[in-house]
Symmetry: C2
Subunit: 222 residues, 2 copies
Amino acid sequence: MSTRNPKLALFAQFAAVAKSLAHAHRLELLEQLAQGERSVEVLADRTRLSIANASQHLQHMRRAGLVANRREGKFVYYRLIDDSILDLMAALRRIAERNVAEVERVIRSYFHNRDSLEPISRAELLQRSRTGEVTILDVRPEDEFALGHLPGAVNMPLRELEKRLAEFDPAQEIVAYCRGPYCVLSYEAVAVLRARGFKARRLEDGLPEWRAAGLPVVTDAA
Amino acid sequence: MSTRNPKLALFAQFAAVAKSLAHAHRLELLEQLAQGERSVEVLADRTRLSIANASQHLQHMRRAGLVANRREGKFVYYRLIDDSILDLMAALRRIAERNVAEVERVIRSYFHNRDSLEPISRAELLQRSRTGEVTILDVRPEDEFALGHLPGAVNMPLRELEKRLAEFDPAQEIVAYCRGPYCVLSYEAVAVLRARGFKARRLEDGLPEWRAAGLPVVTDAA
DNA sequence: CAGTCATTCAATCATTTTATTGAATAAGAT
DNA sequence: ATCTTATTCAATAAAATGATTGAATGACTG
């Protein structure tokens, strides 16, 4: 850890932080953590990792100072150390998106034509929701919704969406959001809604970014 | 490269970008590149890597979209793809600085007491330099100075500093800068100047950040 | 206190990454 | 053309990292 050259030692520290980001599974864990605190078990389940493996990745990130944990009874809950982690991930994403051709290919093949899913900005949504012009749709699972959601949002996990289309006002535009810029749920929700003739768009990014922008978040009382 | 799960594939791309940052030598190369274009030979020399090794690290970063290169005659010149790389490095540094105790230790042991070297902000320097109150001192090597420096700056590489102290006006405060927040040169310059009774401070960060902030940079005609 | 559950630890194996070496290219220079 | 110089490539050896397994820990429950 301690090199003879102090500048190199310093860069080695920065590299250690970068290294703990430099793994698909760990980024996935961070995406989950961006929603809020989670136990190891839940994280392992959502990312389809074994418990032991998830635990090790989480500890790795803890040592690097990306996440923190606390024990409560039998469970250990992990959380992001603070919102600067979101900044770091956003900077990473910006570069990956801009520069790596492969990313574009993946985005395109998965999200079909991304352009037709132009998102609405946070500022615009905030303004239009004040005048009651839009229906805000949160397509995340119920437990994530309960932990925090946009004011006035309706929670309808993707699986229920098709059954509950009657609840929407066909005259209003629907803005769907989910976990973040690469959460699939809201893309799929918009696709379903449009197929049924609704006017629907995605919100740019997702809840963690909304919260990080200092905008209001509603938490259900426990 | 292509996982069955598209979200994971996407994260794997982001991870690839992070991975190419996650190495002390590569961060060092990037710090050099933040100054401007450099040939492989110069980069290898400055970072004390073998040519082949430097070349491989540079190619790795090129594949990840962090740097670009061009051939001119016998030389291959590398450069940062754009300033978003500086943002990424800054985000990394912020987290490493805040969260990793080891970094503090390294900074302290190397820079002694950092607090006594409180830097001056870019805004303040800009303002005070307009009224001619300060001497701006660039302590980088001459070739880097020639490629771009702050308006009105005097170039005096560290080695020459002690011999040329007579050139300074003892009544004026001296603001030293160099390559960036972890470039050692300006710290040392301030230490030397203060020991000789001059009023001296560092500029926050360094030239790449000054340039990235959209502030004026002077290039010597070739 | 024994039992159960969530998490971590330790050991192992497989995989990936890094540095080094010497040969291969590519572009002037003689 | 041949020589020289700058860079890249290819092969190898050394080191680090990741996943899996089963045992160990810590904390609640009956």
